[in-house]
């Protein structure tokens, strides 16, 4: 119960930081407006390994919709976060360490080490950003815009998420 409460609080805090703080940060310089920081995928990334796949999807949907409500883009964030929630178990299997995952464990810096966490986070955040910007631009007419936004935002978001890992050092 206490454990679940932790996830609820974390959910609220991450969404609040995303929509109240990061949304207002404007890193555009003249025509260069490719940087948008998204840390809310962190919530999905920090979920335990052994939870049901259904639960991941539902949580991702709710998370995405909550962010969408504040971004006035109903469905766009939800689409991207459901997408990575679906892929997460497969990515986990792909980058499984030799000794396997500890049951009831969570993918944190403390448990998994920097190298593994970096790869894990970058793969999923990159996919998230790619899907998100594809849905946001919503037209194959602007492939460069999608790619540039994905790459620049990915770098900044990844840095931010890794910083959060280092600063707060979530144990589980």
């Amino acid at each position: 119960m206490r454990n679940n409460l932790k996830y609820v609080v974390r959910f609220l805090v991450i969404v609040a930081v995303q929509v109240l703080l990061l949304k207002r940060i404007d890193l555009s310089y003249q025509n260069f407006n490719y940087i948008h920081i998204f840390i809310y995928p962190l919530f999905l990334l920090l979920l335990p390994f052994q939870w049901s796949k259904f639960l991941y999807l539902i949580i991702a949907f709710v998370l995405g919709l909550s962010v969408d409500l504040f971004y006035n883009s109903l469905g766009v964030h939800a689409f991207a976060s459901v997408f990575i929630a679906f892929l997460r178990p497969y990515i986990l299997r792909l980058i499984e360490p030799r000794e396997g995952y500890n049951k009831d464990s969570t993918p944190t810096l403390f448990r998994m080490g920097f190298a593994w966490l970096f790869i894990y986070t970058s793969i999923l955040v990159f996919i998230h950003h790619l899907v998100y910007f594809s849905m946001e631009v919503f037209s194959p007419q602007y492939p460069f815009e999608i790619i540039l936004r994905t790459i620049f935002s990915f770098i900044v978001s990844l840095t931010t998420i890794m910083l959060v890992h280092f600063i707060f050092r979530p144990k589980s």
């Binding site: 796949k53 539902i58 991702a60 949907f61 883009s73 469905g75 766009v76 939800a78 689409f79």
Partner: protein, 277 residues
Amino acid sequence: MRNLLLFLAKYGHFILFLVLEVICFSLIVKFNDSQKETWLNSVNLYTGRIQEQVNGVNNYLKLQQLNDSLSVENAQLLQQIIDFKVNTKHNAFQNFETLDTTIHTIIPSRVCDKTIRLRNNYFTLCKGEKHGIRKGMGVLSKDGIVGVVKSVSDHYSDVILLIHSQSRTSVSIKGKQYFGNLVWKTNDHTLMKMEAVPKYADVSLADTVVTSGYSTIFPQGVSVGKVESINAEQGGNNYEIDVRLFNDLELLEYVYVVGIDQGLEIKELYSTKKKSN
């Protein structure tokens, strides 16, 4: 049942994933203006073509109905034009006689059957007495006159065409006061002869031939054809004028049957005159 559960346990998350993504997608295209625009446009790009095809077929199936309604509309417009022409009374002769021939009915009708290549050619119209067609009414098309109703049954009527060996129509040259009879002597179904035009008449090529209004069948001034050549009759006082019809009777599908108000009245008058003579 067990298999179904197994299947759901194995692939259920994938189905849920698809369902959620579809929900997200529909939310995106429903609540985001720019995405909605793009979505509608690109969907239209593909569905538009299909719609077009379906519409094409649909239109083709509705063609008959459409034509019918158009011909009714045309009939109304035609009536207005003819009424207008008659009411302006620009013709001095008409003014003098106050012969106010007004059309009182225009009945649009489809041509059910026709003969063109014979010596005596007929149309069969798909409307008859029930629709208001009477014997002796004139038949017009959008390009000119067609013929005269010869006989009517309840639902059909026979029309003697211009291209009938016995057809004889009183016509005049538009804008000039020369009259003559239009008869058919050639084998060409668009070429008529205008007879009994005096040699002093000032007729030139490409003049338009219109109905004279003397007959009780056609209203005055309906175009008939164009003067194609003018020949002097051998040893006679008259011209024989070749008239090229505006109508191609072979292609006609829709005609208008016209009834003139005083037409029958005048006819009766003539017949009583003849009797008394």
